[in-house]
Point group: C2
Chain length 257, copies 2
DNA sequence: CGATTACTTGAGCTACATCAACCGTGGTGG
DNA sequence: CCACCACGGTTGATGTAGCTCAAGTAATCG
């Protein structure tokens, strides 16, 4: 186990120094040597199978986790009701909301087979006190998450179902782009019900809205495969919740009523 | 100006060492001497008048701010549309979402006359590298904010208008309690429109919901003055969005339909 | 290959937005 | 000092986006 940072076990078990996600994850801005130091505290676990929890709400917090491949859903449960909090892509960090209380505030499960890097918090914390760039990066990551939450508030409170779904798709697309994947064609690893839960919509509404978008030629939907056909129009939909339709006829050439 | 940390200028300009809000703000967990060090980098500005901005979205980020007295509203603007992000009470920190990008992601204005402590970020950052407890506290504050945002997501996406407003009031109440104020009677410093904007509701709905609560004897509303009369029932309303009414008749003895 | 689970589509209902009118209050100027 | 106005808040009437209930279709898995 102690050697996990030395050996290359399978496709995703390379060291931080070789990782493609450096610029998104903790290594960003660090020197090669510093990354190596970081690498030494990271442990790479065996891949998480779909549906397997990474940590559970209420569980003792010990480590932060970075997604290496695959995707993770995190959610909170209260009175038996789940609330999807986020979908995490490679390079994103989980567990940050647990630092404050020392216990995980949410549950994280794999949406598909996922490889995860584990960073013991106390060791990361100490290393951050040594390596200035790491300290900055930790704060930067948290700050960006706070800013992203503000954007999400806007998406939810001021946008219609169409606006929310459009915003959601564009958000995913740009995150895939950052990771070097196609931003116009990708797979949704979560269920429609997860999306609905996340966006505060009923599953049926999510489904219908996908169909609308497809109908209007904005996207192509084949089950979980999404192709973005008209990004600009989608952006307008995402930005303009209120009364889209009054100019939709011009812009979208919408079929049907 | 350099001496601002030494002299006591008016009621709210005392040093961190004497501040009542120690346990909420950065000094939490620090030794007296460490608080003194912190105190030396804090500058206390002259009180902000109602409506005066503390910082503006897009503006260069240089400092974090702590509310000393009064209250602050922060909001983002996009395409001319405002989205209320938060209401900040004494002891709370503003500007955290700017660390990542180096520019403020939101605008902050005083809702009422407010005293503010300014903490230059680079100095705070350096001090945090020296003082372990400060470092922890900074991370803790950010982490808690992340966790609070998760809770907010739940409030917005899964709760009805009544649920949201009840949750909002209870949230305020508990935050007042933490600060040693009454948690059953307090003043709303913001407009109804701010509340509506924050919760994703129309002003009219906020107004009507206040009236409902009043009618049901849950709270007493006199303009901006709120008295919480039945906290437990309010908590049920806040926790149960979906189909409240089926047991509301029993619980609330609601008058009218 | 059958059974379970995800997704879609339709019909009707409701919570809330929108539009509109009205009230109270505090500030201003004649 | 009062009349007026501007603005925040309340209340009422109406329309509609999206939820719920229900049923059918497609995909997934043992």
């Amino acid at each position: 186990m102690d050697s996990s940072h030395v050996f290359t076990i399978g496709k995703f078990s390379r060291a931080c120094t070789d990782c493609q996600l450096q610029d998104l994850c903790f290594p960003m801005g660090l020197s090669r040597e510093e990354i190596d130091q970081l690498n030494r505290i990271v442990s790479r676990r065996s891949p998480l199978q779909r549906g397997t929890p990474l940590f559970k709400q209420g569980g003792l917090f010990g480590s932060l986790f970075a997604v290496r491949s695959g995707s993770i859903k995190s959610f909170t449960t209260e009175d038996g009701i789940e609330q999807t909090i986020a979908f995490h892509l490679p390079g994103e960090i989980l567990g940050l909301d647990a630092i404050g209380e020392g216990r995980h505030q949410s549950t994280a499960v794999a949406l598909e087979t996922a490889s995860i890097c584990e960073l013991p918090y106390d060791r990361l914390y100490l290393l951050a006190r040594e390596i200035d760039g790491l300290q900055h990066q930790l704060l930067r990551i948290m700050s960006r998450k706070l800013a992203a939450d503000d954007q999400f508030k806007r998406l939810i409170t001021r946008h219609s179902a169409e606006g929310r779904l459009a915003g959601f798709l564009l958000n995913l697309a740009s995150r895939y782009a950052l990771r070097g994947y196609s931003s116009s064609e990708f797979n949704l690893s979560m269920f429609r019900s997860d999306i609905g839960n996340y966006l505060g919509l009923a599953v049926e509404t999510v489904s219908r809205t996908f169909t609308h978008f497809q109908h209007d030629g904005l996207i192509d939907v084949q089950g979980k495969t999404i192709k973005i056909l008209r990004r600009d129009t989608l952006e307008i939909v995402a930005g303009n919740s209120a009364r889209l339709d009054f100019f939709a006829d011009d812009l979208l050439n919408r079929t049907g009523n």
